[in-house]
Symmetry: C2
Subunit: 153 residues, 2 copies
Amino acid sequence: MATASTSSPPSVDTIDTSYLETLLGYNARRAALSIIEVFLQDMAQYDLRPVEFSVTSLITHNPGITSRQICTALGLLPPNLVGLLNALEKRGLIERKPHPSDGRAVGLHPTPACASMMQAAEKTAAQVEVQASGKLTTAERKTLLRLLQKVYR
Amino acid sequence: MATASTSSPPSVDTIDTSYLETLLGYNARRAALSIIEVFLQDMAQYDLRPVEFSVTSLITHNPGITSRQICTALGLLPPNLVGLLNALEKRGLIERKPHPSDGRAVGLHPTPACASMMQAAEKTAAQVEVQASGKLTTAERKTLLRLLQKVYR
DNA sequence: TATTGTTATACTCTATAACTATA
DNA sequence: TATAGTTATAGAGTATAACAATA
């Protein structure tokens, strides 16, 4: 017999990941990590990690946005945004101004330095897209975006 | 004029996330987090988080797999797997046996308890799929899986 | 009474260097 | 010399509780 009761335990030569590959969560996580890897490399020149880029981009496209609004839009928790915003302010990328109608809130505004950096950073982000979805056709990339949004919206 | 030089800073009523939504990384991350949220809820009954589930599943489907092989397959770092495997062993879900041909390596094997738990857990994982991709048709879900794999493979 | 922003803090996840034993 | 597994440790990311100021 090939497998006697006294035989040594089996070893694995080719890893079977076929089951995990049927799961949406597994594939979404692997794809996200793969894209983020490219993002980290290409965005290192601006010292912007994914969440920092998202926050800075949101402030750039929504001048006067509040901390709370950013948290809602990006699914962040308020305490975790404080340090990030302090760092962006210290780097001269954003300014905190009083909110026009709510004394509790603080409006977040991009500085000119932020605007010019983001103009370059968004060009780099476009390159990340090309790299990350290099194996996809334009139509496939468009379909993928649509389906991902359908999942989380 | 609507915006005089002395006007107060603007506030934002509707947050514009349209730019971020054009980015693959942003959407992949949001989708992955949304699916993981469902996964965490449904898998809490087994005390299995995403990576623990993936590791346990891999060991179940690949008896005798080594720590290094799991790291390669899942993109984990060896030091971060040690504690996880110790915990699974302590819970009586896996066993470490000597590798049949490599004295440095350790073969990882599922216990009967692991096998029966995973049979139930994989049924729950199927329910997670239904919940997480509830807004997608069967064809769309299949397409999404294929495109995600094309990105990270 | 509820909300914004904040502090303090803890927990998880991820990353690097260095050791041991075996190949 | 290189690799498998491990230890120790540091850093990043994420979580809850509680507070002051304002609504």
